[in-house]
Symmetry: C2
Subunit: 327 residues, 2 copies
């Protein structure tokens, strides 16, 4: 690769979330050179958030002793429906955004090429390029965090579909008439197995008088419950929390079986905060349930694994997107 001003060329990946912004600087071979984190402050409005993204990126680049002119491209994962052609965020409920020209505004601030994708797609891309050495033909990524996102790699390429919104596995209905989902439907996968779904189940159990050490760790209303708290409770043998985590893992297993029956990918990768925190507890249940539920003969040889990229999946994926698009 050519070098600019004697310094390495690099790509920046940005993971824009409802609560935090992560920026990572990567070499063309996807080595992480440095990263920064900043709160999103969505309540200040889109303009302020876009300025914070630019600041987070500048800080990350400076942290690596590089300059903006070393950056060949920027890839961003946004939490919602995105038009990757225009780089507009069509709808991002966690940010309260409707039709925000993220690419255009950020390019104005940075004078760099910016590429925008859905965050689930970006994470899938990151896992595929940076983590899967075998480069399978077909991969499905399922990311269990506050919500549930996903992305499909088919024939080695990110599959976007007609409206470029494919991979919304979180809103696959698994239980008609199940619990209400933020999207307005009932029984979506996200309403059954996301961190928020787990939280609601714990909260309603506590209201009904269930005992849990979570009320010792946190306050009685369980505000600020994080995936790490769930891990603590399970590791301390909190039966109530254990059962709820088990139920969530069973639902994840059924969703994975649906992917096996429908798409039959070579590899299914699970990631996101809930899986990162509870991999040892949840993965055996997920795999068992998925194999039980997949049609006889359809799951043979299909790998179901947990991503080890943790929080980095989004920023690596952003760098991959930028690298691909600036080629």
């Amino acid at each position: 690769m050519a070098e600019t001003a004697g310094k390495q060329e690099c790509f920046v990946g940005i993971d824009l979330g409802g609560t935090k912004i992560l920026a990572g600087v990567f070499s063309p071979k996807l080595k992480c050179l440095g990263k920064t984190k900043m709160s999103t402050k969505a309540q200040r409005g889109p303009e302020a958030v876009i300025q914070r993204i630019a600041k987070c990126l500048r800080d990350a680049v400076d942290e690596c002793d590089l300059e903006l002119k070393n950056v060949k491209g920027v890839g961003i994962g946004a939490p919602g429906a995105v038009d990757p052609e225009t780089g507009n965020v069509i709808f991002a409920p966690n940010l309260g955004w409707h039709d925000i020209p993220l690419k255009k505004e950020l390019e104005k601030l940075l004078d760099l090429p910016v590429f925008v994708e859905n965050d689930g797609n970006i994470c899938a891309l990151g896992v595929y390029e940076a983590e899967l050495k075998s480069k399978p033909s077909h991969m499905a990524g399922v990311f269990i965090g506050t919500g549930i996102g996903g992305g499909l790699i088919l024939n080695g390429q990110l599959h976007s579909g007609h409206n470029r919104t494919a991979g919304e596995i979180g809103h696959m209905v698994l239980e008609v008439n199940g619990p209400k989902c933020s999207c307005g439907n009932r029984g979506c996968f996200e309403a059954l197995a996301s961190r928020l779904a787990i939280f609601h189940r714990i909260q309603s159990g506590v209201k009904d008088g269930q005992k849990t050490i979570l009320t010792d760790i946190l306050r009685d209303d369980l505000t600020d419950l994080r995936s790490g708290d769930l891990r603590k409770a399970v590791r301390r043998k909190d039966k109530f929390v254990e059962r709820i985590i088990e139920q969530a893992a069973e639902h994840i297993g059924i969703a994975v079986a649906n992917l096996i029956n429908l798409i039959n990918p070579d590899v299914i990768v699970l990631g996101g905060g809930v899986i990162n925190a509870l991999e040892d507890e949840m993965m055996p249940i997920i795999i068992k349930k998925a194999k039980e539920h997949a049609l006889s003969g359809t799951s043979k040889g299909i790998e179901i694994i947990a991503s080890q990229l943790g929080d980095n999946a989004g920023i690596v994926g952003g760098a991959v997107l930028a690298r691909t698009r600036t080629k």
Copy 2:
């Protein structure tokens, strides 16, 4: 195209079902030159069934005043898990088949190249090639008959997946803890909306004292209930049957929404006996429910249509398979 012995070259498509075998002879441009039908007689065992397939094919070819030497290739859709490489039927519950070398045995009998695929995949291929003039990039086919089959065309190609079993949409779980499915799981799409699921619901209603004109048309135990009987009942304003058909259509709509959220194809085509018989009644409900359940913005411009190929989807698809593989 070259011609053999002054006669047109042709391809034969065969739809092997649990109750009947259909064979169709097609020109290279997929014009149907003739077809024949025969009962399967699965109870006589695989060898007898394979001989019946060969007979059905010979009769169809003779019907068109052609000879076996005019046939360039044969494509068969089998109801179950198939290995398209070896042409073995791995498992076909409706036929009671396990590991049957269909391709090998039929090639021995006919001395013609034979290609085998899953019947849902074959129907999707037939609809895509013979019916969709616009040749969309991505299509999902959903076939509602005795069971529910499906097939995915992605980037213009049949998507087979890791174990070549992709497209098993009938076993996508839509209702955890829902009614028992023939596959052993609960709440599969097939257990909620297939002709058999509809039949079970009607039967149990009748047992509970529900009145329906179906018991006039058929016997009290409703043996031999066909999709055409359901149409008759609905057209005669049988409220009980109307409500059950409506529920099935709602479940189909939710399954279609899952496909939109997950794969976001350009076109979703519905077919099979139930849709053929009740298109006018079911399609408006399916489309409404699908658009309601798909995430905001994801269903824009996606066509949801009923196939007009009827029973011919499988035989056309078989001819398409044979044409593709003998190229």
